[in-house]
Structures are given as structure tokens and as C-alpha cells.
Symmetry: C2
Subunit: 378 residues, 2 copies
Amino acid sequence: MVGGGQLARMTHQAAIALGQSLRVLSQAPDDSAALVAADVRIGTHTDLSALREFAKGCDAVTFDHEHVPTGHIAALAAEGVKIYPGAEAIVFAQDKRRMRERLSELGAPVPRWRPVSTAAEIADFAAEVGARPGEGSGWPVVAKAVRGGYDGRGVWMLADLAAAEELVATGVELIVEERVPLRREIAALVARSPFGQVAAYPVVETVQRDGICVEVLAPAPGLPEELAVEAQQLAIDLAHALGVVGLLAVELFETADGIVVNELAMRPHNSGHWTIEGARTSQFEQHLRAVLDYPMGETSLTAPAVVMANVLGGAPGGMTLDERLHHLFAADPGVRVHLYGKQVRPGRKIGHVTVLGDDMTSVRARAARAARWLQEGK
Amino acid sequence: MVGGGQLARMTHQAAIALGQSLRVLSQAPDDSAALVAADVRIGTHTDLSALREFAKGCDAVTFDHEHVPTGHIAALAAEGVKIYPGAEAIVFAQDKRRMRERLSELGAPVPRWRPVSTAAEIADFAAEVGARPGEGSGWPVVAKAVRGGYDGRGVWMLADLAAAEELVATGVELIVEERVPLRREIAALVARSPFGQVAAYPVVETVQRDGICVEVLAPAPGLPEELAVEAQQLAIDLAHALGVVGLLAVELFETADGIVVNELAMRPHNSGHWTIEGARTSQFEQHLRAVLDYPMGETSLTAPAVVMANVLGGAPGGMTLDERLHHLFAADPGVRVHLYGKQVRPGRKIGHVTVLGDDMTSVRARAARAARWLQEGK
């Protein structure tokens, strides 16, 4: 796996059960996965010769992020490396403009959007959106960096022309999108093997704060069955159409008129961490099964209600993380904790917790309390 | 963890979730755990200086087997190493004579037994056992090596004096025990922290073949509640009385008259592998929580019926293990597989499978079929 973050760390856990050992290409020896994997190579994912050396002897190569240049991926594939997802698929997770174009071609539900290079174009787009009844002025609009966005970075809510001018002045390549009047965000996660088998997980609700996923509820509470099936079918169709091998996470807006695609990810995804204990097969094992071309595992829930809450680094001071963990374990012996071995920095994802049970309300409260304990020590 | 077998391998998986990385003292670089852990030291557990070097910088030291000399454990403890279970506890898992003596003192239910050094003493013991009504001749008796027995090795069923003479001639230090008229074997697993907190898992049935555990059923089907509670209470009492820190597995015979202690183990135990998916906290995490003095985790079942089946190496020839795994995953997408990364040798434990569900009969059939597939490829 290229990339040594927490996704590779948790994939290594899954690889162990399959009788494998994950080789990790890590930028630094103290990256999350590098701390726990037996076979760690230090190198950069933009360095083709490092990737080539890394791939030697691997049954298959995959990624814990979407930042490997597609040219490098294509080069390795041409040399016979089994590398998944392939360049022709992952480009749609790297490049938001290409993604929006392709999804539009495929007839998938997307927000109105446009590539823009000037503030005037953004204002025109807002005016067009605003021209429809009930849309107000069209502002604010959502601007997104075509490349490199992550965890809320690379997304801007533009209130007016002045804000648009300021952003355009930075020179970043942009698309703009209408602000979708969403009820909530949901996500559909599927995995596809080279053979073409696809397995779909139950659709979940994702709760965001400041652009970062803080909570995932599985299954999405009160989601009408037909909408859940539609979301799963959409993700399955996209996995086939885009030729994805491995996981595909489709982040969706649920609106009064149905579902709209927000983002795509082609790797283990934060919205799927609940599957470690909450689904019969974890997303990490599923991703490995897909890239190694094993038959897919069962995706059903292991409990009626599952909630994952991210643990972000809290403000410095007070109890150590280890002391907090002691208190949490004493307070709730049933909570499942996953720590990533990272240095604590405010706002940084340092772990997650998962709680399972019969009642979503109480499960959610327990998960939130557990995350808060680890984060704030209270 | 001292020892690089599958128990350390699975403990490493649990350590990762706790934000830890397991350091492993392994005899060879291709031992099960050494293949997957980041921090592997090669050395022998009988070498005190290797143990001392290994322990430097560890928060706590524990074991994946019971073969570390108690003198070495005591020496490290005297030097300030947190090493669990301690020498004063683990001796009862190393030395069957000491174990039987101590259990007898504590009033725990044990078979009639005796240390012996001659065939005549064995014959005397058989005669005494046979003198009781309904016991026949007293033969066969069970002879056990005082030290070093494991997975059916070091245990002999002696049919008569001639067999006793043959065994005694080998010079191995022995105890003899009456052959207990058992209904079945069950096991009670508990974990105890230095603080003294104890958590008990549901009592399971263990199915043996040729002295090797082949199947574990959780919870033990049809076990009367009072007997289950008695077994758990016995294990809790023994953990306290023997001063165990970490896991204590108490292997028991269920007889018409109640339960009888067969063996003790003080480490993650084959009878507890089902807990990885089948209990809210796996035995591996629980052992780590105990030796690191965290509060214990919840031990409840995650499904009404859980079955673990061991996968032994099959006869050579036919499909590779990897091909068998493909077929198994296609046939049963819900089975959970754990492979240990070991070379296949006939009869060697190379992995295990776990199946969860509502109905013990069908769950057991699925687990047996899955294990047979991996073992025999059919």
C-alpha cells in the first residue's frame, strides 16, 4: 500500500488475518502504518523509481490516498504491476473537474457546476443559479480546487464577488457548484474486484463539522429503503462505469428531490471505519480482497445500530491521551477504540471509536461521549 | 511479547487498535508474528540476557507461551520490569504437579492424581482408583509430563502396567490422573489486571481430536446456567488465588457430578480465538488491557452462536492454500478467516475460521465446512 497513514495501518490489521503482510511505502518512519507494519519502505509517492522499487515482489499495489500521479500508475501497470485502482479510474477521485464531467456524461445526479477561471465566471454562474425560482441570489456558491482537496481543505463557500475575486487571485484551478439544499450527507460504499464482482455496504449517514467527518451512523437512520437501494445501485453502477478496482466511497447529499453525488474516493474511507466491528467484513479486508481478486465478503451489519466517531486532537494540556483512555475504558467497557499512533495536534484525526447496540440514540450518545473523552478529557 | 507464534501475531493486531505496537521476541524471522510486527527481536526465551535486552523500553512484557524459565521472569521483575503473568503465577501453568498441588490446596475440583516415578506407583494408583465401585480395573490412567506438554503432546493414556513401564523408562517426570468420565470439555476464560479487576467470558465447549482442540462453541450449548456461573467463578477465584495478571484459561471437564479442572493456561488461548469477532472485546485486546493495567473490556457475545474451528495443515498436493481460500470465500462470504502465515505441514495449526449466527447447528456446520475446505480443499 502506497501511503503510511491510518488507512494503511488498519489495512495491515486486515492483511494479517488473510495470512498476508502489508508492505507500506511511507514518507516517514513514524507515520501511522510505518509504526506497526513489518515491511516498510521509506519513499515518496511522486517518485516513480521509488514506486517501481516498492512494487517489486508485491502481489498487488494499492493506495491509502489519491495523490499518486496517474502517469506513474499507468507506467507501473504497463510494466506488469497489478496496481489498483488503475489510472483510468483514480483520475476521477483526483480531479474534481474530470469527475463532474464524467458523472454528468453518465447521467449521475450532480449539482449544477462549471469549471471557472475568473471571478466574473463565478458571478455568472451564481446569477444563473439565482435565476431559478426560489434560489435567491444564487450566492453563496461552492468553489472547489480541482486537485488536492481533502478533509475540508480545497473547498470554499463564496458569499459574493469579492470573495470570488480573492480566491481566484490565489491562482488555484477551480470548479464552482451550486449550494445544494441538503437534508443531510450520506455515503454509499462498495468494493469491486478485477473479476467484476461488486459488494455494497449498508448506506450510512455522515455528520460533518467544519468540512471534517465527525460521526458516521450505520445504517443511515430513517433513510427510505428505496433511496438506500438507489444510492447503493448508483455506487455499483459508478464502480463498473469508472472501472474501479477496490473500494469506491460515494459521498452523497440527501435532498428533498433525491440524492446528489458530492465526492468520490477510491480507497478505505472514513465513512467506512464502522465496518471493522459493525459489518461482517471490514472495508479494509474488503479492499484487500478486491485488489487481490478474492471473492467479496459479506457486508451485512453485525448490530442494529453502529456509530463511529472520529477522535480529533484536542487542545494541549490536561490529561495525556493514555490517561484519557484509562478513564474511557472504565466509563464504557463496550466502546471499541482505534488509535492511530499519531502525535496529538489540535484538529488532527488521531483515532476513532465505534459503539454497537440496538438503539441508535443511545449508541450515538455513547460514541459521542467516548470521542469527547479522548479528545477533551471530559 | 516473548514468543513469535500466532498468539503474538493476533495480539499485534489488537495492539495496533490500542495505539501500541507489539515488540516480539521471536526465535526465527519467519515466525508467525515476526512476519507482521514492526519491532521484532530475534532471540531465545531461555536466554536471560536476550530477555533483558528485549525488555528495555517496553511498557510491559508478556508471553505467547509458557516456556520462559520462572527464574528469568523473577530476575526481570526484580530489576523493575513489568512482566506478566509473574513467576509466582506462571509456574502453575508450566508445572502440572505444582498446579495439581495448588489446586488441591485451594479446594478446586481436580481428578484424583499423584506424582509418580515408577511403574509400580502407577499400578498402585490404578488399583486405588479401581477399588472404588463402578470404576472397573482403574486402568487406563492418564499420565502427564510435569513440564513441556502442549497440544496433546506430553499426555499418555496408559492401558496397563506394560505401557506404564515403557513410559517410565523414558525418564520423563510424571504425574498420573484418573480418567475422568466426562460428558465433554468446556473452558472458562478470564482476564485479571494488576489492579485486581477480573472480566469473565462466556463459558465455551471445546471439541478435541487427538488431543488437539479442533472446534470451540460459544456459548457452550445446553450448559446449565448454574454450571456456567460455577465455572466462571472458579476461574475468577483461581485468577485471584494464583495472582494471575493477563488471561487465565481454565480447561474443564464437564461430568455427571459437576466440573473438574483439566489444565490451566496463562496467555491468549485457542479456546478464546472466537472472541475476535464473537465477543465485544477480543481475548488479545483483553490480555493487553490486563498487562497494561487498563480497565477490562466488555466480554459479551456479539451473536447468539459463535463457532471457531482450527485449520490444520492438510496432506500435500492438490490446490494451494490460496486457491482453497478463493473457493471458500466464494462458497461462504460470511466466514471469518485467520491465517497465521505458516508453512503448511500436516497436522500443524495454520489458521482458524469463525462463523457467527443465530443457530448453533448451522453455524457449526458452516465453520466445520470452512475449516475442511482450507485443510483438505474439498
